[in-house]
């Protein structure tokens, strides 16, 4: 555990902090894209008087950037919606842009660089064509293998971007790849979807609260080798606390739904990780019940270690983090593809893929 995890668990510890602690904390928070979240946390606990002004300025800079990308993301969502509405294609907002659309707690600080959307599998080709005709195109170079990978094996089409805008659009037809260990019946998600409040005369559907949490869990622990990092874990905590406040028996409901969708294992990982590393409060009942979805003890131990190295390294740049990320990367492929397909995929990625060009970040002056 590092200082950032400790702050998420108990922000009041900063009362005793000295300059060196803040200097270790800032890179962790900046790297995890949680500066804005931390500012809110300090505010909430009446701690702003002990946070050095220099850091408050950094937090506010990050928040200014966040509100800009949030406006861009919501605009992109409206633009996509306009096109798909015309085609009569039903659309659901997922992840970051869904939290914004549905005005859920992460909206106060959540950064995002793309918008994730869900359409029905039967509609996805038509949706992609409609967007392409309306000015969207592939957001990068995808060779025929990549095309095949996305379309046949994954649950999405290659990312799109409108030619005059920056926000990437990731269009999915499911929450997990059709070839993975976890198979979710997407129709069940559509049945329970809820409408977000109207904005600019449009309403968009989002996942039901329990499904939203399960998606976060599946995404973090099945699809993406923890790439969303601690930020996604903090999303889980914030959403969980928000929904649990609004619905009695929410925890029970969540467990049942995980059974129905077959997402027990990711829920186990997400809930226990959010508890350990992001300060989520879980009832003893829930903690006991979730154990039913734990893997066998040695596997659970190993995963715990990996998760901790990846999401809570004592400081940045430790070799353990690199090793853990590599192993998690392998694991994410393992759970996502059957072995034969995995071998083919790795073969191609190692020997056949064009490496993306490396270039310097752009500099002013």
């Amino acid at each position: 555990m590092n200082l950032l995890n400790q702050v998420l668990r108990d922000p009041t510890i900063v009362r005793a902090w000295e300059a060196g602690d803040w200097n270790r904390f800032l890179p962790l928070a900046r790297n995890a894209r949680l500066l804005g979240r931390c500012l809110h946390l300090f505010e909430e606990h009446g701690l702003l008087d002990v946070v050095p002004q220099r850091l408050v300025d950094q937090f506010q800079g990050a928040l200014a950037q966040t509100s800009y990308v949030q406006v861009q993301a919501k605009r992109e969502l409206r633009q996509v919606q306009r096109v798909l509405d015309r085609e009569g294609i039903a659309l659901m907002a997922l992840k970051g842009v869904a939290y914004l659309a549905a005005a859920l707690p992460p909206r106060g600080w959540r950064n995002l660089s793309d918008i994730d959307l869900l359409v029905r599998e039967a509609d996805i080709e038509r949706a992609e064509q409609a967007l392409k005709q309306a000015g969207w195109g592939p957001s990068g170079e995808f060779d025929s293998y990549d095309q095949h990978y996305y379309r046949e094996w994954m649950h999405e089409v290659p990312p799109l971007r409108h030619h005059s805008r920056e926000t990437e659009v990731d269009m999915h037809h499911n929450l997990a790849p059709p070839v993975s260990r976890i198979r979710i019946d997407a129709e069940k998600l559509w049945q329970d979807a809820v409408m977000a409040p109207e904005e600019y005369g449009r309403q968009v559907a989002v996942l039901a609260p329990v499904d939203m949490l399960l998606h976060n869990a599946v995404h973090l622990f099945m699809n993406d080798e923890l790439r969303g990092g601690l930020r996604d874990v903090v999303d889980f905590r914030d959403l969980f606390e928000h929904f649990a406040e609004g619905e009695t028996n929410f925890e029970q409901h969540l467990l049942q739904r995980a059974e129905v969708l077959g997402c027990g294992r990711p829920l186990y990982y997400a809930a226990t990780t959010a508890r350990r590393l992001a300060g989520l409060d879980l009832s003893p009942d829930f903690i006991a019940a979730i154990q039913a979805h734990a893997p066998v003890y040695p596997a659970a131990r190993l995963m715990n270690w990996l998760i901790e190295q990846a999401l809570a390294p004592k400081r940045l740049g430790m070799w353990q983090t690199a090793v853990a990320n590599q192993l998690l990367f392998i694991r994410s492929h393992w759970v996502r593809m059957p072995p034969g397909m995995l071998v083919r995929h790795l073969w191609h990625k190692t020997f056949k893929s064009k490496k993306p060009p490396t270039h310097d970040a752009e500099m002013p002056g």
Binding site: E18, A19, G20, W22, N23, L26, P27, R30, N31, P52, R54, L55, D57, Q58, Q60, G61, A62, A64, Q65, S67, Y68, V71, R315, L316, G317, T358, D360, A361, M363, P364, G365
Partner: protein, 297 residues
């Protein structure tokens, strides 16, 4: 050499630099002698490491890397360019994170507490003009960043070494043969570079904001006759907004801040070919009666 730490103030930002490169450290010490923070441990904005990667290139044409938060956003540079690389990279850190401020892409100097803002695209001559005005006694705020605190409209100094490029180096040496220039970096990505060191006053006063008073859009033009031409305020607004790094990002905040700035500043354009006459024209602005004496009625 072992790793050494140095904490330097770059205007409102406190920067910790850790390096094992003795020559780079000497240059830093020399340039920012009066901006070094010596009062013990303190909170800093950016912790930066400048180091030589451990590979074969350690011995053959050695390289140097820039690291912040354990990330290395740039390709390695030749070791001898450590100082210019550090300066660029720090600018990059600020430009990509300091959205708490409105960041104008401008050279800025102050006469007393009143500031002259000279926005401009590369090649407009803003760095050269800032350097020349500074050599004639104006306080250097920055040659690159006009940091505006949006809620007050104050302009914050960030006096760094001014990177003079190619012909500008000779232009400044012709203007003032005693100009305090650092080492020559013959081959950087921007060509040949030499930095002008900000004077002691500017470094010591880097926590003293200035009030924006004049806005001049400079344009270097061979053979141009130096004249300050008043600029229509609507046009000035458009051009100032265009020269603001984070204008779009800050949205309404920057719209209001630019509006406020334009209202309170006298706006001009200046085509120039002769540095001496350009500096004369700009300095003349400062000797005119202040806004209070000029009156509104």
């Amino acid at each position: 050499m072992r790793n050494q730490d140095l904490t330097i103030d770059a205007g409102p930002f406190r920067v910790n630099v850790s390096t094992s490169d003795a020559r780079f450290l000497d240059t830093l010490n020399d340039f920012y002698e009066h901006a070094i923070w010596r009062e013990g441990p303190d909170v800093f904005d950016y912790g930066i490491r400048i180091f030589r990667p451990r590979n074969l290139r350690r011995w053959i044409r050695p390289q140097v890397l820039f690291e912040i938060d354990s990330r290395r956003p740039f390709e390695p540079h030749p070791l001898e360019n450590a100082f210019p690389m550090f300066e660029w990279s720090l600018n990059w850190c600020i430009a990509t994170s300091a959205h708490r401020y409105m960041m104008l892409h401008a050279g800025t100097v102050a006469f007393g507490d009143q500031a002259l803002i000279m926005p401009g695209t590369p090649g407009s001559g803003k760095s050269t003009l800032s350097a020349a005005l500074h050599l004639r006694g104006a306080r250097l705020l920055s040659d690159e960043f006009g940091l505006v605190r949006p809620e007050t409209g104050d302009l914050l100094p960030m006096p760094r070494g001014i990177p003079l490029k190619n012909a500008s180096i000779e232009a400044i040496l012709g203007f003032d043969p005693a100009a305090p220039l650092g080492p020559t970096y013959p081959k950087t990505r921007k060509g040949r570079v030499r930095h002008l060191r900000p004077d002691r006053e500017s470094q010591i006063q880097q926590d003293v904001p200035a009030v924006p008073r004049w806005l001049v859009f400079p344009k270097y033009e061979a053979g141009a006759k130096e004249t300050l031409r008043p600029l229509d305020k609507t046009e000035a607004f458009r051009q100032l907004a265009f020269n603001c790094f984070n204008y779009r990002l800050l949205g309404e905040t920057s719209f209001r801040a630019v509006d406020q700035l334009i209202r309170q500043m006298d706006c001009y354009t200046l085509s120039f070919s002769n540095l001496e006459r350009a500096v004369e024209q700009l300095s003349a602005l400062a000797s005119e009666p202040g806004p209070a004496a000029a009156g509104e009625t």
